[in-house]
Symmetry: C3
Subunit: 137 residues, 3 copies
């Protein structure tokens, strides 16, 4: 059993952004030399998400708008009494989840045609980290 751990740094210009990290995960898999197993891809922050969905730009706009509708920016969150203004970002992270497990078979991401890995930033404009841990043989 081998374990290969890697950290990706991201720093978005916008407060909210959606970054396709599929290529980064594929690179980590190649570096690991693992052919069968899985990859944990996990945001190391509580105001960001990691999810699998489509790379289509219109859909990404739909996702952003929809997340804003169900977990809106709001000045009245109790969390803001600490001086923060990112209460919505914490809630958005709960909707998407902060981590995924990607299957690896025959040295490849064992994905369907349209599956792509996204890092969803909900409180950006600062350094953030994503953990990629490849586990298998």
């Amino acid at each position: 059993m081998k374990f290969y751990t890697k950290y990706l740094w991201v720093h978005t210009n916008k407060i909210r952004d959606f970054i396709n990290i599929t290529g980064d995960v594929e690179t980590a898999l190649k570096e690991s030399g693992i052919s069968d197993g899985m990859i944990l891809v996990s945001a190391m922050h509580i105001t960001a998400g990691v999810y699998v969905n489509d790379a289509e730009s219109g859909l990404i706009e739909d996702i952003e708008k929809w997340l804003e509708k169900i977990a809106p920016y709001n000045i009245n969150y109790k969390h803001h009494q600490t001086g923060e203004t990112n209460g919505d970002a914490h809630l958005k992270s709960l909707v998407t989840g902060h981590e995924i497990i990607v299957p690896v078979t025959n040295s490849k991401l064992d994905f369907g045609t349209w599956q792509q890995i996204y890092y969803a930033e909900f409180d950006g404009q600062r350094d953030k980290r994503i953990l990629i841990k490849v586990m298998g043989e």
Copy 2:
């Protein structure tokens, strides 16, 4: 460490459907010969979900109605400019998540009494695939 990978095909008659795949996952576990470890159950599509919850038929109706309320069918999604009509299915998939990890102990799914594994189809009437990967010893 052993890895056993299997693919389930599903093709629902309805656009939206909820299929209990607990028995299929138990069959894969038996075939794997693994007694301790975990199972990744992952939809290979971006318009479907996999979740753990109750097999009670009334609750399944509640879940379908509730998902429609928070991620409604809507003709105005930007994604539809590509010719698709399934924007809601992508959003519903983000709510449920597309994969789960099932614990295995003593050659059994290490579940509580009422936990059942569901494949949730949000854009059916076509061939879809679910990956089951058993990992352990």
Copy 3:
């Protein structure tokens, strides 16, 4: 490859409650002797969640209020025809998810500064169980 499985019992006084179980997961990791790998933390019930987010008390109130808004207590769920009154708890569990995978590196939870593990009880005042399975080397 080692596997170490442990069960936590919880019994909340309130119907809904949020319990920080990060210390319990760290204890299980120490007991396992594993230095690299991952930990599955999974509610064994379908009316509870497990998620990673902030330990800030105001935010926890925000999360509770927000979950009630998107998956409200409602006397009209079909599920209640079985005699249950906890339909909302099943839906809240789908929002947060019922399990997480925690990375382990150098014998520690490989977390960012603010990441904490929470058990979210949505139908408490009874005995509930959480599975912790440490897997690695």
